[in-house]
């Protein structure tokens, strides 16, 4: 089979730790408590998040790579890890001043931040909030 008949993606995993609070300004306190439960506790709580990203593109025959890992790592660190790690997402990430930082919304925000990666096409972002919950977004 010729290589162009195949679709190849590179996957990479990163980690950050952050706190958040699930509270919707569109709902009353009682509703928030009912919907979000412990996640609505007023001072927030935290998770160790894992972000898995997949990018695609041609394999450069000179390097054997879709994207140089150093470039990819630097971009993800600058766009996501630095601004998110050891932060309170609700207060310190502008996107969450008007959106509830559920992992669904977080996943979409990370996709938006990474989709302009210049050396390969971002295919999908998967965020694991805990080892048991994960969310994936492919931009549509």
């Amino acid at each position: 089979m010729k290589p162009e008949t195949l679709h190849i993606e590179l996957g990479r995993r990163y980690r950050f730790s952050a706190s958040h609070r699930l509270h919707s300004a569109k709902l009353g306190d009682e509703e928030n408590g009912r919907i979000y439960g412990k996640c609505n506790n007023p001072h927030g709580h935290g998770h160790n998040y894992t972000v898995e990203i997949r990018v695609s593109g041609g394999i450069d025959p000179a390097t054997g790579m879709i994207s140089n890992l150093a470039d990819l790592d630097a971009f993800v660190h600058e766009q996501v890890i630095e601004p998110f790690d050891h932060r309170y997402l609700n207060e310190e990430v502008p996107a969450f001043q008007n959106a509830v930082p559920t992992t669904e919304i977080l996943c979409m925000e990370i996709f938006e931040r990474l989709k302009s990666f210049p050396h390969a096409k971002l295919e999908a972002v998967r965020v694991e909030e805990t080892a048991n919950n994960s969310f994936e977004y492919a931009g549509n």
């Binding site: 008949t5 195949l6 190849i8 990479r12 390097t63």
Partner: protein, 141 residues
């Protein structure tokens, strides 16, 4: 459609070096992966086969058959080997995760005759992997 996945692990060494580039360029691009005597990884390979369960056996394919194919085509070829020196299919290529996954796809695709090879995922370590699909092969499951 059912997507069935079997996982195997193999250990192998490799080195990233492109003879068309200068030693300094090789070092700059590949870093530690260019160290001359190579280094190794525990690779994890996930092979996903797509198909409909057979109405009699309830199976997409017999896992024993898949196990034998993986043993013959992958384990015997790559386990405890130096990928640059001992795997002819990788000759002339940098044995990155992407290239090894593509070679594995090409080794397995014709051998899987019940169901259809859907995805090859190769982990070099838990934080780095490559996926290989057939272009236009449907869901990225």
């Amino acid at each position: 459609m059912i997507y069935l996945t079997r996982k195997i692990e193999f250990a192998a060494s490799h080195v990233y070096h492109n003879p068309a580039l200068s030693p300094a360029e090789n070092k700059r691009i590949f870093g530690k992966c260019n160290n001359p005597h190579g280094h190794g990884h525990n690779y994890t390979l996930e092979v996903t086969v797509a198909g409909e369960p057979d109405p009699v056996t309830g199976m997409v394919l017999d896992l024993k058959d898949l196990k034998e194919i993986l043993e013959r085509e992958i384990m015997q070829r790559m386990d405890h080997r130096h990928l640059n020196l001992e795997v002819p299919e990788l000759q002339g290529q940098i044995p990155t995760c992407e290239n090894i996954a593509r070679v594995i796809w090409n080794l397995l695709d014709a051998k899987i005759t019940q169901g259809k090879l859907h995805r090859v995922r190769l982990y070099e370590n838990s934080d780095l992997f490559a996926d290989c699909y057939r272009n236009g092969g449907g869901a990225r499951v």
